[in-house]
C-alpha cells in the first residue's frame, strides 16, 4: 500500500475513533446552551437602542430642516402676494379718492 493510501486510511480511522469517543450531548443540553443569556439579551437591547437613537438623529434633523424650509416658503408666498397686491393697484392709494370722482 502506498504511503498516501496508508495515511488516508489511518486518518479516516483516527477521525472515526474520535467521533466515537466524543461525548454525545442530549437534546436538552443543546437547547439550554443555545438559549441566549439575559446579560447578552440586555446588551443587545442597549445596542439596539443606541443604534436607533443614532439613526433617529439625522431623521430628526432632516424633518426640522424641511419644516423650516416649508415655513420660509409660506412666508415668501405671503410676501409675494402682498407685493403683487400692491403692484396691481391701478393708482396709488393717495390718489384713489380723486380717481373715484
Amino acid at each position: 500500500m502506498s504511503e498516501f493510501r496508508k495515511g488516508l486510511a489511518e486518518f479516516r480511522a483516527a477521525m472515526h475513533e474520535e467521533g466515537e469517543r466524543s461525548r454525545v450531548p442530549s437534546l436538552q443540553e443543546i437547547l439550554e446552551r443555545r438559549q441566549p443569556a439575559p446579560v447578552l439579551q440586555f446588551r443587545w437591547a442597549v445596542a439596539a437602542m443606541v443604534a436607533l437613537t443614532l439613526g433617529a438623529v439625522p431623521v430628526y434633523r432632516d424633518t426640522q430642516q424641511r419644516q423650516r424650509e416649508a415655513d420660509q416658503e409660506r412666508a415668501d408666498v405671503l410676501l409675494m402676494d402682498k407685493v403683487n397686491a400692491a403692484l396691481s393697484r391701478p393708482v396709488p392709494r393717495a390718489l384713489a379718492a380723486l380717481m373715484g370722482n
Binding site: F4, V24, P25
Partner: protein
Amino acid sequence: MQPLATSRLFAVETQVRELALADFDAVIRLYWPRIFRFVLASVRDHDVAQTLAQDCFFKAHQNRARFRGEASLQTWLMQIAVNLVRDHARNRRFQFWKRVPSEPAEGEGVRNWLADGEINPEQKVLVKERVAAVWSATAQLPERQRTVFLLRFVEDMDLLEIAAVTGLKEGSVKVHLFRAVRRVRAKVGRSK
C-alpha cells in the same frame, strides 16, 4: 398494484421519519459521531467542532418540521454541518484579531487516538506522523475541495451523495475531488 405499493412504502417511510424526528435524542445519538468527526476534520479544533456540531443539531431540531425526506436524514444533517463549517470559516476570516492557531501543536491533534497495545511505539509514532501529514494537507485545501475530500474519504460518501450534500453537480464534485487528491498526495509525499 405498483402505485399502491409505492404509496404504502411512502407512508411507511413517512412514519419512520416522523418517529425518528419525534425522538430527537435518538437522532443525536445516532448521527453525532458522524457530524462531529466531519466538523472536527474540517475545523481542526475540538471545542469549535463541539460547538458547531451542537449548532447543527440545534438547527435541525428547530427546522425539523421542514424536513420532508427528499434526502436522507444523514444527508440533511450533513448539509447543515457543511453550511455551518463554511460560515465559521467566513466569520474567522473577518475576525482575524480573535484567530487562534488552527494548526494543532505537533502530535496534539492526533494524540491518544490510536488504541494502545495494537502496535509498538515506533509504529505508533509513524502512524501519528502520517495522520498529522494528511490532516495538515487537508487544512491547506480550498474550502470546497476540503469538504468534498473529507466527505469522500472520511464519510465514505459516493459522488451523488456528496453532490446532494454540497449542492454541487456530480461533475464538479469529481473535479474538486481530483484536485484535492492531487494536492494532498503531493503534500503528504513531500512531508515524508
